[in-house]
Symmetry: C2
Subunit: 343 residues, 2 copies
DNA sequence: GTGAAAGCGCTAACAT
DNA sequence: ATGTTAGCGCTTTCAC
């Protein structure tokens, strides 16, 4: 991949070895057809032999395209960012585009520093990513001379954004429960000030024809325990299924139900949201849940960025990426026939 | 940050506006002192006013330093990679160095593609990262013309590597248990073919003066349940504490103990390993565990890379980064006085 | 079909 | 102290 003698081979070396001029070598390699076939083959062969690879910096200087983009995230934890980054990379690596990852840790100073470094490096575009949909960047991305795409974040109306389709995902969950014969479905979820939480709750209600009960609370397993405790110590009829706004909450719910001697899914079925493997797969029983397709979301964002950098038109607005239902054991796969089926 | 008229301001624009030559402008900005103070101030002021920022591509072409490095990881999940990347970035961003993140997904083709793109972009160095210490890169990094640093991976002897100090971490855990008065400490851990597992087990045995019992098994919570079942259904005296090789295993252990009517930490104390927040903080009781300091590990790797790219000597070999004990509730904080203290 | 020359934006000799 | 010149590695007119 490199010449044995330190410095990489340049096009000059190729030209020299082939006995042609630099420009002919360039023509031959980039195959503009304006070269003699014999010469072209010879040059190409020599280039390969001495391991010539064009210097992307030099190319970028001339073409004004660095073939690199920046990704700015406030997530230090990685659960959301890495799958998305992998998706972005996957879409771009075949086009020779690499991704700078910048973790701002929610620090405006860091965000500014990273942004400046990216602009200095002439990135072709920037993808902004957050840990929650309604979190704004800590720097102004609206007046940049390069395209900006929002992934798992909602940019201004004129920009291009990709977010999970929380509405469809929640509907998927509820309809799955309905199809299994459950009718008294409860929704235990996160804090109402999260956009995603409100959307999932709205979709849940809509799927139930406007009925249903939503319990908002903090994220985390504790809230699952607490919520279960509340519903089991009150007089009303018990739910026969619970749709949770996150896998962590669902895990708390399932553990609490077991503590109370109720069995999942036969007494109460549970569906989660996130498909966060370490939680969903380890819950007993393993969690039926909604996968947000983060890698696919990243891939889509990457493809959009590719189009933008190539000057192709991309429709502005928010793109909702479909969620998927992942069926595990916490929610019986049998259709109907449940004892608590009557509403 | 940018001129209003599309293209970024170049040093030419600065020179023009200041009425000096390009090289004088360059001198003034890079303050080699070889400029008249008045001119320098004027140039600097104008540069700031029109928002001039040097083109890093052009600079890199000349200086042969791109001020960017590549990070190659096989982790799609992010639990290890993102904290480390954040640490690397943190160490480098102040020096204007940005980080390309390349997720290979364990695919050699992807790894090769990414590596080529990085080399083409003239990265100043490459940091290789893996999800387990003894995992080798899918591409040959040994004959690269640029420095390579291994983070959470062990490179060849001649290279620079940073790994968690599993030995010290495990000792920390066991000594903590000993200091609380526990004597019959059991070790339930992962598969023996993991280097980290063997090290933790060895340190555990050493801390116990060569005594102790190690139960190897698959990662995951199930193994925790299974292992607890085994020790509770056999005749020998019960352990009064369990040191687990991962937080997930520890969670399984704690849940299983509770199922068997044993209480943590009063009957049996438990310590985990990883400080993986979603697991450790949600366990009931919350998990006392070992934090591997991944961000610090990344920071150290970043600093080493910085030195290497500046031609400073860096000692080759493996650097062990100290782990930290994080005390939560699964392991009483009281000293001695435990009922089971007698060995 | 091929090569000489200009230039991307910048820095660093070397003159002046 | 400042300006002129050359050149980093590459692509691209434009002569020949």
């Amino acid at each position: 991949m490199t010449t044995s003698h330190g410095r990489r081979a340049t096009i000059r070396d190729v030209a020299l070895a082939a006995g042609v001029s630099i420009s002919t070598a360039s023509n031959a390699l980039n195959g503009q057809g304006r070269t003699n076939a014999e010469t072209r083959d010879r040059v190409k062969h020599i280039a390969e032999k001495i391991g010539f690879r064009p210097n992307a910096l030099a190319r970028g200087l001339l073409s004004r395209r660095s073939h690199s983009i920046g990704m700015i995230t406030n997530d230090t934890y990685g659960r959301l960012t890495l799958p998305m980054t992998a998706g972005v990379s996957e879409a771009l690596v075949d086009h020779g585009v690499s991704v700078f990852l910048c973790a701002t840790n929610n620090d405006p100073r860091l965000a500014r520093l990273h942004l400046e470094a990216l602009l200095d490096k002439q990135v072709d575009g920037i993808i902004f990513t957050a840990t929650r949909l309604d979190l704004a960047p800590q720097v102004d991305l609206s007046r940049l001379p390069i395209p900006v795409v929002y992934a798992f974040a909602e940019g201004p109306d004129t920009s291009v954004s990709f977010v999970p389709d929380d509405h469809q995902g929640a509907r998927l969950a509820v309809e799955h429960l309905l199809s299994l014969g459950h009718r008294r479905i409860l929704h235990i979820t996160g804090p109402e000030d999260f956009a995603a939480v409100r959307r999932r709750a709205a979709a849940y209600r809509a799927s139930l024809g406007g009925e249903g009960e939503v319990m908002f609370g903090p994220w985390g397993e504790d809230w699952g325990h607490e919520a279960v405790h509340r519903i089991l110590t009150r007089p009303e009829p018990r739910p026969d299924a619970i749709f949770c706004g996150s896998d962590e909450t669902a895990r708390g719910v399932i553990d609490a139900l077991r503590d109370h001697g109720l069995s999942v899914p036969s007494d109460i079925a549970v569906v989660g949201f996130d498909n966060w493997h370490v939680v969903a797969a380890q819950t007993r029983p393993a969690l039926t849940t909604i996968d947000m397709g983060l890698k696919e979301l990243g891939r889509r964002a990457g493809l959009a960025m590719l189009d933008l950098t190539q000057g192709k038109p991309v429709a502005s607005g928010i793109n909702y990426i479909a969620c998927e239902l992942v069926v595990r054991a916490s929610c019986g796969t049998d259709l109907a026939g449940q004892s608590l089926m009557s509403s």
